[in-house]
């Protein structure tokens, strides 16, 4: 484990915070993407938004590329392999026909994705025909069964690691709902049976097989033809599996993407309702800030990783010591000592469960009652049968009565009051936009809320907008309306940039990629005459016609002083020949006050010791 000193310097509290943001990553995931590369994948297209058609193969490949990029950022230890079937060429350990395992140098077939892997996979479509080739692998008259082979290869790839410590998954992308449709008679049954057996073998080994079907706009992917049995779908599940045929391409991509992730439970908690009645809930972290990964210190000479060693030194005696078990707080002129156990005991004000207090109307949950990202809770009948039923009943009542629940969440690291807000399921275009369940919102305590509104309150009445001004503002709002705005439609430009730079450096590319910042305002839209006019009218109504942006502002005493000082410094500074002084090394002989004149005149920071100031001056002069 590499230790980041920034991490080490944090106190207990922040460590427990870290815990909150960290997901439970006890298990890792091994995934084999199994992509059908039959000519049908290339010939069937879906109309994309920009009027060009996209092939199913392209959709599958771009979904995988997308997920690899997310994975390399988010889930470092998961391993993947990409495997095409129905190919002309073959490349696999078992040397089976029609199966091609895609890989790059310096990487095992099932391994963590590397920069090169992602990059080459990005260009797979250009080289596909030449390097791999597409060809139907199941044709009548031959006993060849490429789907069977593909499953076998995938199973072989997933042989490594134990199913106890890793989730093993095969994700199968295809648009052929009846893979043995071209075969007749006994041979068909035979192939179906052997393929099923192959799939079952894999499943017996703890590998889950998931189907990601692609369907052309006017046809339905009939899971019942073949795949239903293989992936174990029955009755209602079957109907649920393919919500509707002919969805828009974007929706299909969206669904594929969502299905590629497996859910991870953060914690299982019990929710105590009353009278000893308590139900079982799972919590999930659906929203957590993604941050650039932790840094690893390297030796700049060898580029080899370094490990950080911490040693504790007694400030009084200078003796080396073990990590101290006690902490202290100076108080009333004494050092009050606490043991680590005592501190955690203090925080344990309640059992680690969620305890219901009661309900309040939703209007009591203010916009400022927020501290950290919410946590999603969903019922589970795994241990306590009946939990889901109670949860659904409460969920419905809360939605119907527009109320939220207040509960105390006795999380040992940070016990808090929480609001449980019921969220109804939202389904759009066949895909789930919001799952049904409750969101746990962490409420602030009184000392966490600051009365800043009143900070500048006067005894006099403050100006308010008139009806006309409000009307103008409303007109403006109608003009600049983001109709289909959805939260999280923007990629984080800083993170994108971070990883683009990393990728470029990892691949030793010279050009730094340009990342489009999606968060900047839509200049074009803002320049539309209707918008410009609405803005002008609003401006006129609230500012009047002779508004001087700066004129209305009282310049504060301090800033005026600062300005005067800078001007003065600029004047004084001109009295010295700085370049000459620097060349002769005479800066050291000058006083700090004199040095500061230069710094102030050039708008540089004036903090630090004399040596720092001198070096700052020299840097500024370019010496």
């Amino acid at each position: 484990m590499e230790l980041d000193p920034d991490d080490v310097f944090r106190d207990d509290d922040e460590e427990s915070d870290n815990e909150f943001y960290q997901e439970h990553e006890a298990t890792k995931e091994y995934v084999v993407y199994l992509v059908d590369a039959s000519p049908k994948m290339f010939s069937t297209t879906c109309p994309a938004e920009d009027q060009t058609d996209e092939t199913h193969f392209h959709i599958a490949v771009s979904c995988i590329a997308q997920s690899l990029k997310t994975q390399i950022i988010n889930r470092l230890y998961d391993e993947v392999a990409i495997c095409f079937f129905n190919t002309r060429k073959k490349k696999n350990l078992q040397d089976l026909n029609g199966v091609f395992v895609f890989n790059v140098a310096e990487r095992e077939q099932l391994d963590r994705p590397t920069a090169r892997f992602i990059k080459e996979f990005d260009h797979i479509e250009e080289s596909f025909e030449k390097e791999i080739g597409s060809q139907y692998g199941i044709v009548s008259g031959s006993r060849e069964n490429s789907l069977y082979n593909a499953l076998w290869v995938a199973q072989g790839l997933l042989r490594k690691g134990s199913s106890k410590t890793a989730d093993k998954r095969i994700l199968l992308f295809t648009n052929e709902d009846d893979p043995f449709g071209s075969i007749k008679g006994a041979a068909k049954n035979d192939m179906t049976r052997t393929t099923m057996q192959r799939a079952k073998d894999a499943q017996d080994l703890g590998i889950s097989i998931e189907l990601l079907p692609l369907s052309p706009p006017d046809e339905e992917f009939k899971v019942s033809h073949f795949y239903a049995d293989m992936i174990g779908l029955e009755g209602d599940d079957l109907a649920l599996f393919m919500p509707s045929a002919g969805q828009k391409l974007e929706d299909m991509k969206d669904q594929l993407r969502k299905r590629m992730f497996s859910k991870r439970i953060v914690k299982r908690i019990s929710f105590i309702i009353a009278n000893g009645l308590s139900i079982e809930l799972n919590t999930y972290a659906l929203i957590r800030p993604t941050v650039p990964g932790a840094i690893t210190w390297l030796d700049s000479v060898t580029n080899h990783p370094l490990k950080t060693e911490r040693s504790f030194i007694c400030a009084d005696t200078g003796a080396l010591m073990q990590e101290p078990a006690k902490r202290f707080q100076p108080y009333k002129g004494e050092n009050i000592k606490f043991s680590v156990q005592e501190l955690s005991e203090i925080k344990r004000v309640s059992t680690g469960h969620l305890r219901l207090h009661g309900f309040k109307p939703l209007s009591y949950l203010k916009d400022y009652h927020n501290l950290r990202p919410s946590t999603f809770v969903f019922p589970s009948d795994k241990e306590v049968v009946g939990s889901t039923c109670i949860f659904i009943a409460l969920h419905r009542s809360m939605l119907r009565l527009n109320r939220f629940a207040v509960a105390f969440y006795g999380n040992p690291s940070n016990p808090r009051l929480v609001a449980l807000v019921a969220q109804d399921e939202i389904v759009r275009a066949g895909g789930q936009v919001e799952p049904p369940g409750m969101h746990m919102i962490y409420l602030p305590y009184s000392d966490d809320i600051r009365p800043v509104e009143e900070l500048h309150s006067d005894t006099d009445a403050v100006p308010r907008a008139s009806d006309d001004e409000v009307k103008k503002a409303a007109a403006l709002m109608k003009r600049i309306d983001l109709k289909d705005f959805s939260v999280c439609q923007f990629a984080n430009p800083s993170l994108q940039r971070h990883y683009a730079v990393l990728q470029a450096l990892a691949l030793e590319e010279d050009d730094m990629p340009e990342i489009k910042d999606e968060t900047v305002p839509d200049e074009e839209g803002m320049a539309r005459p209707g918008v410009v006019k609405a803005v002008e009218e609003f401006k006129l109504s609230v500012y009047g016609d002779n508004y001087d942006e700066e004129g209305d502002v009282k310049v504060s005493e301090a800033s005026r002083k600062r300005k005067a000082a800078t001007e003065n410094a600029a004047k004084e500074c001109a009295n010295y020949d700085w370049a000459d002084l620097a060349d002769k090394g005479k800066l050291k002989e000058m006083t700090v006050q004199e040095l500061k004149l230069y710094l102030m005149a050039h708008n540089l920071s004036t903090t630090g010791r004399k040596e720092t100031l001198i070096s700052r001056i020299l840097t500024h002069m370019g010496k």
């Binding site: 504790f312 030194i313 007694c314 203090i346 039923c389 105390f408 100006p463």
Partner: protein, 691 residues
């Protein structure tokens, strides 16, 4: 520093009607002082009690009057003794006149500081305002209040009034209450005083912030609606989590006789090469490596500086959208407040116009913010209107950070409607739930809101400070239990529960919960705590546990280990396809054989024949699949022998109709039967009718 200087005068009502809440007042005040001892060592505090038996203040000496007002402590820098004296407030015997106390307090502050003092000057009044006030010598009480309020404004005094009305049971002095509340209102209107009514001891404990953090803007500049239209705004933090104080590590190395020992611990870091631990690398020789997959990419800070994302400081409007587009649970962080630049009336009007229009049309604004120059990231957030109800507080916006695409995990969950019927609440259950949600009401109309976040103290922090104080007296004091007022935060209030007992009972009666009987004990343990190491000695046990859990995810998979009577064919297939041990195939075939013979033996007039033939077909299929032709051929021959012996001629007809024969070489390489032999088998083995 003058900025952090602060003077606080506590005006505490100790008259008889306050006695029941005095313990909580004591705790609130001690906490206040304790935090000052840690965070604001040079703050100054004074305490005035009123409603006391004795009278002790300067004004009574100078001008007379002001009885039953006792200065417990003059204004001075906080010290530990003050915490002690606040722990046991004397119980007063007389009615408390809060106006007298305020006058005494204002007089003390003015005398001590005059107009020149730069720090903040606060008064904090805690009373129940139940006692009638004395009439002034001249003019009305209202006039008197106005005069005091003017004085307070002139000297920059701020006041916070906390009015405790814990138990308003059959209050006889309605007139007094109305009059007193009215007077307090005048204070709020005419000076920067704030009055807060609390109705429980829990709320009382949270009513006064125990730590004042001087607010700092995180942004001052333009809110850009467009290139042409900008509004000057300031941005403050509205919420911020109060953390546990950072404790220092304690070193016990210094001898106990050393009075000047700091007992601090210095933490030193050394960087050593992973390959060669004896090699120490000086800190300046390190370079940061960033992970990208399995690779670690070294990037110097200068290099990074050149390529990193550098947005310009700005706050820009992206547009407006319907409030319903932004669900509450997307709020990511603590909240900020956008207010128009103070003193800038036109900006205030602009913000006010937008806020009011947003509220009217149910819209919110989406903005992109870079708070500081040099900041490396941008935030996209939502502005929601905060329309002020008080005329002296300007309208403003709350700002909440929204997630980026990378921050959201789009897990899918099953629809509730897709769950089995047994998991769906029926009508009575739903009604009971509706009733519970209605009855267990924390915001009953006509009464105050229970557990309002603004008035709820942090129980863990309260406990820490309580413990700190106990430890300052006895080093070994154990962590104290939560007192009753704090328990009402961590546990539901028993009185409230009692009020809605019928709804709770009805609810509990409607639903049945039980432990899942299917789970083995060991599995449950697995559920509770994931094993930390995978290589546990009890390998076998944990494998089956893991499997049990896996199978729970989809549908229970029953592993078959013998052929039953109900579904022999399915059982056989299941056994044949088991891959955990090669013996299963043999066992399946053996079981199947016995089954078939059993059927034939016990067949009365051939009723079991169809079934036996079906099993034979299945066995044949399985033996071809597993390339075990001999097994099947032996069985078939044996069957034929039996039939010939017993003369089961109808059985042969069945065999014929199913075209059942030996497994030939073309079907399984191991077979020594040719296709012709197989074809003629049945005919040959049929018993001759002539016989």
């Amino acid at each position: 520093m003058a900025r952090t200087r602060e003077a606080l005068l506590l005006l505490l009502d100790v008259s008889p009607s306050m006695h029941s809440v005095l313990p909580d007042v004591e705790k609130l005040c001690s906490r206040l002082i304790q935090k000052k001892l840690i965070y604001g060592k040079n703050h100054e505090v004074g305490v005035i009690l009123f409603g006391t038996e004795e009278t002790e203040n300067e004004l009574t000496k100078e001008v007379g009057g002001y009885e039953h007002v006792k200065v417990l402590q003059d204004i001075k820098v906080v010290d530990g003794h003050l915490v002690q004296s606040l722990k046991h407030l004397p119980q007063g015997t007389c009615a408390g006149d809060f106006l007298d106390a305020i006058v005494v307090g204002v007089d003390m502050l003015i005398k001590k500081y005059g107009e020149t003092y730069k720090g903040k000057k606060h008064l904090c009044l805690i009373t129940d305002a139940l006692c009638p006030l004395k009439d002034p010598d001249v003019g009305t009480k209202e006039d008197q209040v106005s005069t005091i309020a003017r004085q307070m404004v002139a000297f920059g005094l701020r006041m916070k009034n906390i009015v405790v009305r814990a138990s308003l049971s059959g209050e006889p002095h309605m007139r007094v209450i109305i009059e007193n509340d009215n007077l307090l209102n005048i204070f709020s209107k005419k000076s920067s005083a704030k009055t807060l009514f609390v109705d429980s001891t829990t709320s009382l404990r949270g009513a006064r912030k125990t730590r004042d953090i001087s607010p700092v803007t995180i942004f001052r500049g333009d809110l850009e609606l467009s290139e042409k239209m900008k509004i000057k705004v300031w941005v403050y933090k509205k919420t911020g989590e109060e953390k546990f104080p950072t404790l220092k590590k304690y070193s016990d190395k210094a001898p106990s006789t050393d009075k000047f020992a700091t007992h601090e611990v210095k933490v030193d870091y050394e960087y050593k090469s992973v390959e060669d631990p004896s090699k120490v690398v000086p800190p300046e020789q390190r370079i940061k490596g960033y992970r990208y997959g399995p690779q670690v990419v070294p990037i110097s800070s200068a290099e990074w500086e050149a390529v990193k994302f550098k947005p310009e400081k700005s706050v820009k409007l992206l547009g407006f959208t319907d409030a319903s587009n932004i669900l509450r649970h997307y709020y990511m962080k603590d909240v900020n407040l956008f207010i128009a630049e103070p003193g800038n009336s036109r900006a205030t009007v602009a913000v006010s116009a937008l806020a009011r229009a947003m509220k009217e049309m149910n819209k919110v604004a989406i903005v992109r913010c870079v708070w500081r120059q040099g900041q490396q990231s941008v935030v996209v957030g939502v502005l929601t209107p905060n329309v002020s109800e008080k005329i002296n507080i300007p309208d403003s916006f709350y700002f909440n950070v929204l997630p980026f695409a990378e921050d959201v995990r789009e897990f899918q969950f099953p629809s509730f409607s897709k769950f089995p019927v047994s998991w769906q609440p029926n009508e009575q259950q739903q009604e009971a739930a509706d009733n519970l949600v209605k009855m267990l009401d924390l915001a009953p109309s006509g009464k105050g809101e229970i557990l309002q976040p603004e008035l709820t103290p942090n129980p863990a922090l309260e406990r820490f400070y309580h413990h700190l104080e106990l430890k300052s007296e006895h080093q070994d004091a154990a962590p104290p239990p939560l007192d009753d007022s704090l328990k009402k935060i961590t546990e539901p209030d028993p009185t409230l529960l009692a009020e809605s007992q019928s709804a709770i009972d009805a609810f509990c009666g409607q639903f049945v919960i039980k432990e899942n009987p299917k789970l083995k004990k060991s599995t449950r343990r697995f559920l509770r705590e994931k094993p930390s190491g995978s290589d546990e000695p009890n390998g076998d046990g944990s494998v089956s546990d893991a499997q049990a859990v896996n199978s729970m995810e989809s549908k229970p998979v029953v592993t078959v280990d013998k052929i039953g009577d109900l579904t022999p064919i399915q059982d056989f297939e299941a056994m044949m396809s088991r891959r955990d041990c090669p013996d299963w195939v043999d066992k399946a075939i053996e079981d199947m054989k016995n089954k078939i013979f059993g059927l034939l033996e016990n067949s009365n007039e051939g009723i079991n024949y169809p079934k036996a033939v079906e099993l034979l077909v299945a066995l044949r299929k399985g033996c071809i699949l597993e390339q075990e032709p001999k097994q099947f051929n032996d069985v078939l021959e044996k069957v034929c022998k039996i039939c010939r012996k017993r003369n089961f001629s109808t059985f042969f007809d069945f065999l014929m109709s199913k075209k059942l024969s030996l497994i030939s070489k073309s079907e399984a390489v191991d077979s020594d039967i040719t296709d012709d032999e197989a074809g003629s088998f049945i005919v040959k083995s049929q018993p001759k009718h002539e016989d």
